[in-house]
Symmetry: C2
Subunit: 210 residues, 2 copies
């Protein structure tokens, strides 16, 4: 299944690295722990890190800039949500061909504030569950006041594209004989050992992390 | 030294986490391997991952979206460059207080295409050296054609701010007695073992990575 390409969601630079397959887009979105959301206020773009969760073909975002971002979204302005996973540093033999291996997704669209209580609760749940599966069943759920104070933004994936670079550097033919190390330095994300809250009551174990 | 705060670069959400100290801003910018650059075309914001390097009080960015981004910048439009380092997942006892530990910097400003040859070469050098110190002296430098084909954007740090969250979750007082594990799962970035280019000539060793 491919996301319908619009003129503006079509990748222009290095289009051979573009992918509009919805499965690829889902995988990148679901693998990233946070995204960057762009919105415009008085012609100035703002790009803010937020957390996100995907439910079907809808991306939910939630984060610290809620007030300014939501004010804009309420006025019907478009947003851009971008997720990037850095996989490696690509060291070529020439300065020009240095690159990065990465997977990124760019989602364009009109944001929508989630006001339906059922959808909003499902979004909260997804935001917690995607980070720690099973956690929603153990924590204290939002109170009515918390529920009202927290805003969630929904963006559809109709105008989305992925861009992926993998593999070794691509050098100019003449440069392959240069005595310069070339290759890829993988970049990996790991979880460290859990740090107990200082006020944790005794006998509780942290969730297991991959 | 603090960056002068403008109304629009003042952090609005959770202002106690904001920092306008230039040293803090430098450290976050210099620690990140890539940034997200926001720009606006026809009222639609775009957010694109690019690589960056800081030289003094100027941030240089360079990346795949060069054409569309530069077309906009040439027309004098503002940009937003955001860098985020995720340090940990903050698991609270309530859904509401779940959070992330992170360091982020947001830079607002008018971008400027770097056209001066000396500044452009220095920017290229910085973009390579910041990833692998010492590499600029070993690789093939840009040809005149490559130099002309590659665009670099400069953004000053006059309107910049950092936002940092550290430490354990902050739960509601009543929730501390809940039998729910709470604390921080550190998120760490590591470099993996270097992967030689398949066409690497014999006897070359990769650069050492921390």
């Amino acid at each position: 299944m491919s996301a319908p390409q619009s003129a503006r969601s079509t990748v222009r630079r290095a289009p051979h690295r573009a992918d509009y397959d919805r499965g690829v887009i889902y995988e990148v979105l679901d693998s990233a722990l946070y995204c960057h959301t762009g919105f415009v206020v008085d012609a100035q773009p703002y790009v803010i890190p937020t957390i996100h969760a995907r439910v079907g073909d809808t991306l939910y975002i939630h984060g610290s800039p809620a007030s300014r971002m939501l004010r804009v979204v309420r006025a019907g302005a478009p947003v851009c949500v971008t997720v990037t996973l850095l996989d490696g540093l690509v060291l070529a033999r020439s300065a020009f061909h240095h690159s990065m291996n990465y997977r990124s997704v760019v989602v364009l669209g009109g944001g929508r504030e989630v006001v339906d209580a059922e959808e909003k609760l499902a979004a909260f749940r997804a935001l917690v569950e995607r980070v720690v599966p099973g956690r929603w069943g153990r924590i204290r759920r939002p109170t009515t006041a918390e529920f009202a104070r927290t805003q969630v933004l929904a963006v559809g994936l109709d105008e989305s594209s992925a861009k992926i670079r993998t593999g070794p550097p691509v050098d100019d033919e003449d440069d392959y004989s240069l005595e310069v190390w070339a290759g890829v330095i993988p970049v990996e994300q790991h979880f460290g050992a859990p740090i107990d809250d200082p006020r944790l009551i005794e006998g509780l174990s942290p969730p297991s992390f991959p």
